[in-house]
């Protein structure tokens, strides 16, 4: 049989059985959590020449839409990636980049810098903790770095600005 025809039939069979599984057999609780309509605005920065996220830990309730504004203090590029939610964005130097997404799975996920940026590149890791819906959300600022009063990000850091409904 023609190899391509075989592959096509295989793809059709696979996808349709996947669809059937998802619709009728998949245990409840697996899969995406629907958006709750809440919105969390989070400001974040990349600390200059330290390859650190600030805050480096974010706690959020599942289903809450995150509006994440990241200011890159460096003169070079960074990237922000959480592959489980399919996010991989460039952070231009000394620019604020806004990323919108709704965490649809609960768990503990790493976010990391996805653009080679020198020495500390592979250490530039933070954690996104997506809790159950009833969890109170929290941000944990990077304690190792002093807050700079002039930095807008620091002023806002550590708080959820709004729970719009």
């Amino acid at each position: 049989m023609n190899k391509y025809l075989g592959l096509l039939l295989f793809a059709i069979a696979l996808l349709s059985s996947g669809f059937i599984y998802q619709t009728y057999y998949r245990p409840s609780g697996v899969g995406g959590i629907k958006s709750t309509g809440k919105v969390a605005i989070i400001n974040m920065r990349v600390i200059k020449n330290h390859w650190k996220w600030d805050p480096s830990i974010i706690k959020i309730a599942a289903g809450t839409k995150i509006v994440l504004s990241i200011y890159n203090e460096d003169t070079y590029d960074h990237g922000f990636a959480i592959d489980v939610f399919g996010i991989n964005r460039r952070l231009f130097p000394q620019t604020t980049t806004t990323i919108n997404f709704t965490p649809s799975l609960s768990g503990k996920f790493n976010f990391y810098c996805s653009v080679p940026c020198g020495d500390g590149h592979y250490d530039q890791i933070g954690t996104l903790i997506v809790g159950e819906e009833k969890d109170t959300s929290a941000l944990v600022p990077n304690k190792n770095f002093a807050c700079n009063a002039t930095n807008k990000l620091v002023k806002d850091g550590g708080e959820i600005i709004a729970n719009r409904n």
Binding site: K3, D77, G86, K108, F109, N110, S114, P116
Partner: protein, 800 residues
């Protein structure tokens, strides 16, 4: 040319125009095979020829031609275009590839250099520059540079992949197209949608890591490989036109006692022509007057000159040695033996089975595997795990991108280049990668005898002197008598005397007795040198040397008697002698478990004598030129992969028919053109070196594939996210991952770093910059590994 084999079947040979890959031949074969009335089809990509047997009453020729047209190929009958035009076509094809290669490298090298540096050295990425107050994203520049590489240079691969698709196979081109397209469109969409324009981001987020270098590098190296291959292959097909130049251009026609110089092609059947001593026979014929010895080794392979007299057959292209001959033309033009050989070479080239290249062999299996894996990964993440559509799709695309083996483009050409250069340094010209791949698979080596294993000219091998005469005196006297003769045997005697620095004075009263020998006088005494017939005629008693003569004849040697002052003083034995390193070469081949075969047009005794001396496994003697090819065919049918080593025109059909033709460089142009490996020096040990070097090179290529694909094999499951199943447990790092992390943290100084990198990498999908690093690393390792071949040492030989 057209041979009626049955009343209804016609065998035809066409040139195919428009073939661009091995799949084309498969396509032509598959389609034509299905037609009613077609008995056999054989399209060859390498020779660009189609050999087809069909029944014109069921399927007219026009139908076949139009079928070819509809597939995109033109079938040309051999006569419709001159060799010149074909040459021009080939040259323009090579020029086109060269241009693509140059453009590709010009555009791709900055990209390759930049990404290699960033990924290998973990430098800071520069994504944009400020021109005044304007921010210029470098991705625009990379995009502009990659588009021509991906689509103009890569057009060749797209076209080939499409042909492969039509025949239902997945060649290397398919893999290249799949991998580079995935990388290119991933980069393009990621760049355009996820970064630059806000409103586009609402459609698509989540992938912004361009892989421009992936397609740029792969395309560039592959096109370079194709270019080099085309250059080396272009040389192969000139062979046949050279063959026809063997017969002399002019002939002397005898027209009612008038000698007239005419073009050889103007000779008609039954014309009478004259052949002067030392010149070539213009066409096949029969002697009607005169006698001579003819050097026929060029056609028949017989080492000794053949004595010919009235009513004997002469072959066009052979050399007349001493006598003036009047001959009647029996065959002219297409009927001549030489022309028949031309036809055989052409057909053998057209029907030579192509070898499946290593890269295609791998791709044939690798491509479907990758596609299946990418589908499974999407299915798993989307339907089973319930991840979002974007991340699930990304797992799938990542699998496809990772499958693109960047180093694949380097694996074959670099190793081939190093291998062939190394060969050229040792005097071995290897025409392209296919010759290499075939050489290492060889299980039997067939040798032509005359001119290949032996020197192809008679030499004095034994001197038997009777009591009262020294060997030197005997040789000296014989040489004095033979000095005036043009006969090759006589010249061999003189040569031997000169080698021994004997003084050979001018004889008196020199006389040649045709077909028997010579007489001459020196110091007022008669010297006679000649064969037994001569001795009998002169009434000379040869009983004294009889035993020796019998022994020498058993060794297939030609014996001449030397008579001084009416008395036999001894005899000389002459034979074609082995080339210097023939024995060492054969022994080395036998050690490598190759079957050694000898095919010769020479007689049984001579062949057996040489065969015994060399320890040859199978000897075929009395083989006419057209039968050599058949013998090769039958050896192939026994399941052997056979190399043919030869030098003569009579060997060229066999060279073309064999799996690998090795031409000895001292041989004729035609053999050299037909051979795929050419030994520049007249040293048979190079046959062994060629096979050995090919094996080493192919081994290198396999190693390179390991480096190129090993990375893919490891990276594909990671790209598909397989590791996450074991490193994550209900959304959290698995216990073993965290425990390993805390163990790693105990390492002094760097422990904390290592631990956090481990925790990070184990929890995420394949990070694009790590993929980039791995791709660069695999390319570098392939290059370095290939360069190790520079250290190749020739095999050692035991010379006896």
């Amino acid at each position: 040319m057209q041979i009626e084999t049955k009343t209804t079947q016609v065998q035809k040979l066409y040139r195919i125009q428009g073939m661009h890959c091995a799949s084309c031949a498969v396509l032509i074969n598959t389609i034509l095979q299905k037609q009613k009335g077609v008995q056999s089809v054989n399209a060859s990509f390498g020779a660009e020829k189609l050999s087809i047997a069909f029944d014109p009453s069921i399927i007219p020729e026009e139908k076949i031609l139009s079928l070819g047209k509809s597939l995109g190929y033109t079938f040309l009958s051999e006569e419709s275009k001159t060799e010149e035009e074909f040459k021009k076509e080939r040259e323009s094809h090579i020029r086109d590839l060269r241009n693509r290669t140059i453009v590709s490298f010009l555009l791709a090298s900055p990209i390759i250099g930049y990404y290699m540096a960033v990924h290998m050295l973990n430098l800071q990425h520069v994504h944009g520059i400020m021109v005044g107050s304007l921010f210029v994203d470098l991705n625009w520049i990379y995009l502009a540079m990659t588009i021509p590489v991906q689509f103009w240079v890569g057009w060749i691969f797209y076209r080939n992949a499409w042909t492969a698709f039509k025949v239902g196979s997945t060649s290397m081109d398919t893999l290249v197209v799949l991998g580079t397209s995935a990388a290119f469109f991933y980069s393009l969409i990621g760049f355009l949608f996820a970064t630059t324009y806000g409103h586009l981001q609402t459609i698509w987020i989540g992938l912004d890591h361009p892989f421009w270098e992936s397609s740029a590098a792969l395309m560039s190296f592959l096109i370079m490989g194709r270019y080099l291959e085309a250059v080396s292959r272009g040389k192969v097909s000139d062979a046949v036109s050279k063959l026809l130049q063997l017969t002399p251009e002019k002939a002397i026609l005898l027209d009612k006692d008038n000698e007239k110089e005419v073009l050889a092609s103007e000779l008609k059947k039954d014309d009478i022509f004259i052949v002067k001593p030392g010149s070539k026979i213009p066409t096949d014929g029969i002697i009607i007057k005169g006698e001579s010895a003819l050097d026929e080794k060029i056609v028949t392979g017989e080492s000794m000159p053949v004595n010919k007299k009235v009513n004997d057959v002469v072959i066009g292209g052979t050399v007349n040695s001493y006598g003036l001959l009047h001959c009647k033309a029996t065959k002219v033009g297409n009927e001549t033996l030489i022309y028949q050989i031309v036809r055989m070479v052409r057909e053998a080239q057209a029907t030579r089975a192509p070898l499946q290249r290593v890269a295609d062999w791998i791709s044939e299996r690798f491509v479907p595997t990758v596609i299946v894996l990418s589908l499974i990964s999407f299915n798993y993440w989307y339907f089973v795990r319930g991840d979002g559509f974007t991340p699930s799709l990304l797992f799938m695309v990542a699998t496809l991108i990772i499958s693109c083996p960047c180093a694949l483009g380097l694996a074959t050409p670099i190793a081939t280049m190093v291998g062939t250069t190394k060969g050229a340094e040792s005097g071995i010209l290897i025409k392209g990668g296919e010759a290499l791949e075939k050489a290492h698979k060889i299980t039997a080596v067939a040798f032509d005898k005359t001119g290949t294993l032996t020197k192809g000219e008679p030499a004095v091998t034994n001197i038997v002197s009777l009591k009262g005469t020294t060997n030197e005196d005997l040789l000296k006297l014989a040489a004095i008598a033979e000095r005036g003769s043009e006969h090759p045997l006589a010249q061999a005697v003189v040569k031997k005397a000169k080698e021994q620095k004997l003084e050979v004075v001018e004889p008196e009263n020199f006389k040649t007795i045709s077909g028997m020998g010579v007489t001459a006088e020196s110091n007022k005494k008669t010297i006679m040198v000649g064969n037994q017939l001569f001795m009998e005629k002169e009434g000379i008693n040869i009983d004294e040397v009889k035993d020796e003569v019998t022994r020498l004849r058993k060794e297939a040697k030609t014996v001449v008697f030397v008579v001084y002052d009416k008395k036999v003083i001894g005899c000389l034995a002459l034979a074609d002698t082995l080339k210097e390193h023939a024995i060492a070469a054969i022994q080395a081949l036998k050690k490598r478990k190759k079957e050694i075969i000898m095919i010769t047009g020479d007689n049984e005794e001579t062949a057996q004598a040489i065969g015994k001396q060399l320890g040859i496994d199978r000897v075929y003697a009395n083989v006419l030129p057209d039968k050599k090819e058949e013998i090769i065919e039958s050896i192939k049918k026994d399941g052997k992969i056979v190399a043919m080593v030869g030098d003569g025109i009579n060997d060229s059909p066999a060279l073309a028919k064999s799996d690998l033709g090795i031409a000895v460089g001292s041989g004729t142009d035609v053999a050299i053109e037909t051979g795929e490996i050419i030994l520049i020096r007249d040293d048979l040990r190079d046959v062994v070196t060629a096979i050995d070097l090919s094996q080493k090179t192919i081994f290198k290529i396999w190693q390179n594939f390991f480096w190129a694909f090993g990375y893919n094999v490891i990276a594909i499951p990671i790209a598909a996210g397989l590791h996450l199943i074991i490193t994550r447990h209900s959304g959290l790092p698995a216990t073993w991952v965290t425990s390993l992390g805390s163990i790693l943290a105990l390492i002094p100084a760097i422990g904390h770093e290592v631990s956090s990198v481990w925790l990070s990498l184990s929890q995420s999908a394949l990070r694009p910059e790590i993929a980039g690093f791995a791709m660069a690393f695999s390319s570098v390792s392939v290059v370095l590994n290939s360069l190790l071949l520079r250290l190749y040492k020739k095999p050692k030989f035991i010379d006896s």
